[in-house]
């Protein structure tokens, strides 16, 4: 591994710049303003996450993996729960309420289904992974339909986010691969509520970007045309 922490003290994230699952942890670390160090993993083209040294950290051979004072924790959703429980003294991101925690966990599990569909399609389209692309896109659209419908229903009762009227780790867990869906050939055209939700994320204090998830004001090319998140072009 490129640079293994020589001390066990501190917060480390085994990270890949293009991974949405790593990004959700980076994003939460930013929201919580927690000092940490990234340990880059050569996910592609090196497949370092499938090599012995990494498999000792996470036998599933998946990133992200968090290391906090020597405590090793794989799985993005598990990491979000852990970070919220340990470091979010406001209890805003994962409220100590049985029903809310149950509801949030429901979305954390759903986030893995988004990974299995939207992220899989992106790995196929961008990095050439061999998988059933039609199936991945179909499942991706089903997930997006469900998420969009839920956001619409929430809006009616005055909630802007998946569980509450403020973001929780449920939103963070689902956000990256929804925002990156187009890179897997899954258009967000039919999911306006999801698109608004993406834009709300970008207005949060301490929001950070990743490649493929540009800032709200969009990007401009040399022809003076702007490109926003959905890849729509407006002058």
């Amino acid at each position: 591994m490129s640079s293994k922490p020589n001390t066990q003290k501190g917060l480390y994230l085994y990270d890949y710049i293009l991974s949405g699952n790593c990004y959700k942890v980076r994003l939460f670390l930013s929201f919580l303003q927690l000092d940490h160090e990234l340990i880059p993993i050569d996910f592609f083209p090196g497949f370092e996450h499938k090599q012995t040294e990494f498999l000792e950290l996470n036998p599933l051979g998946q990133i992200p993996v968090l290391m906090d004072d020597g405590f090793v924790l794989p799985d993005a959703q598990a990491i979000l729960v852990y970070l919220a429980a340990k470091y979010d003294s406001t209890e805003a991101w994962y409220p100590k309420d049985p029903k809310l925690q149950g509801r949030i966990t429901q979305w954390l599990a759903f986030a893995d289904s988004i990974t299995g569909s939207c992220s899989a399609a992106r790995l196929h389209d961008k990095l050439g992974f061999k998988l059933n692309i039609e199936q991945a896109r179909k499942k991706g659209h089903q997930n997006l339909r469900l998420l969009d419908d839920h956001l619409v229903e929430n809006k009616i009762v005055g909630k802007d986010w998946l569980v509450l009227n403020r973001p929780t780790i449920a939103d963070i867990a689902c956000f990256p691969y929804v925002a990156l869906a187009e890179e897997g050939g899954i258009s967000l055209n039919d999911y306006p509520a999801a698109r608004s939700w993406i834009n709300r994320f970008k207005k949060l204090p301490q929001f950070i970007v990743m490649p493929g998830i540009p800032p709200l004001h969009g990007m401009k090319n040399n022809e003076g045309k702007f490109f926003n998140q959905e890849g729509l072009c407006f002058s």
Binding site: S2, D42, P45, P211, P214, K220, N221, N222, E223, F227
Partner: protein, 289 residues
């Protein structure tokens, strides 16, 4: 799509993968210029490439060479040797291959975007440029007939983080070199060795008119960063470009008469298009008004 009839694209060397992508006994199928290929490394270490039909029958065998960390083939009879990048012989340079990334765009659009320094502050904000320091000083771009390449030099630009090894924002010098229609390298100020240039390059495999696989690589002097750090940096930059590349219209690079007037392209892009037009390249271009 079926195999292109464009003789210019056919009679040239094209990249089909990284050398490491081809392991003994693991034949790989890929596409080139609308044609299906199968490539396999044999017991003696040689790679054999064949065109295959849609049913998988072997049609004809294609010449192969392994160079610059990548595998090259041709669907025709190249009129000239594969271009040279002499810096590959400097053994103290760090070579980093970033792997093949698929882009739903013409390979020529990818090369063209690579040549465009105008987009840095907007697309690679805080890394390769930032507003309001968007000014590009006047520079020179030309077709070099003797070597049949497009060159741009004397380019100077303000960058916040030009390379991973750069500390703080500074003026960075660039030279661009298009070695063949789908392949290009740039030379930029080397933060660690001012007397040398760092090299970043793109080899684009034109799969279909509107689809390519792009292999980025670096040949740099950098004792500070690991190979993984460098790959992450380069992939970050490239994935910032992808949204723009996949949304450009028309899909092909416009080469019809008057196209250069309707689009505000920069100088190097204009020379690039002129050069493509002189060559008569068709694949990945837009010839209609």
């Amino acid at each position: 799509m079926t195999k292109t009839t464009d003789p210019v694209a056919i009679n040239d060397w094209q990249v089909i993968g990284r050398i490491d992508d081809f392991l003994k006994g693991q034949p790989k199928q890929t596409r080139l210029l609308g044609q299906s290929l199968v490539a396999e490394r044999h017991k003696n270490g040689d790679i054999k490439v064949h065109e295959i039909s849609e049913l998988g029958e072997t049609l004809r065998s294609c010449p192969v060479q392994e160079k610059f960390g990548h595998v090259w083939t041709t669907l025709g009879k190249p009129k000239r040797e594969l271009f040279d990048i002499p810096e590959f012989q400097q053994i103290d340079r760090k070579y980093v291959g970033c792997g093949g990334v698929m882009v739903k765009a013409s390979a020529l659009r990818v090369v063209e975007n690579f040549l465009d320094i105008g987009h840095f502050p907007y697309v690679h904000t805080d890394f390769l440029g930032s507003e309001p320091l968007t000014e590009v000083k006047d520079y020179k771009a030309e077709i070099r007939i003797d070597v049949d390449e497009v060159w741009a030099d004397d380019i100077s630009f303000h960058q916040d983080k030009a390379m991973l090894s750069a500390t703080g924002g500074k003026a960075v010098e660039y030279m661009y070199r298009v070695v063949s229609p789908f392949n290009t390298v740039l030379y930029k100020t080397c933060p660690e060795k001012p007397e040398e240039w760092d090299i970043i390059g793109l080899f684009a495999q034109p799969l279909e008119e509107n689809l390519c696989r792009v292999y980025a690589f670096m040949l740099v002097f950098d004792s500070q960063n690991t190979e993984t750090d460098l790959i992450h940096f380069q992939q970050m930059i490239f994935f910032q470009d992808i949204i723009i590349l996949e949304n450009q219209l028309p899909v092909g690079v416009p080469l019809y008469d008057g196209a250069e007037r309707s689009i505000k392209a920069d100088k190097t892009q204009l020379q690039f298009r002129k050069w493509l037009k002189q060559k008569g390249l068709q694949f990945g271009t837009d010839q209609e008004t």
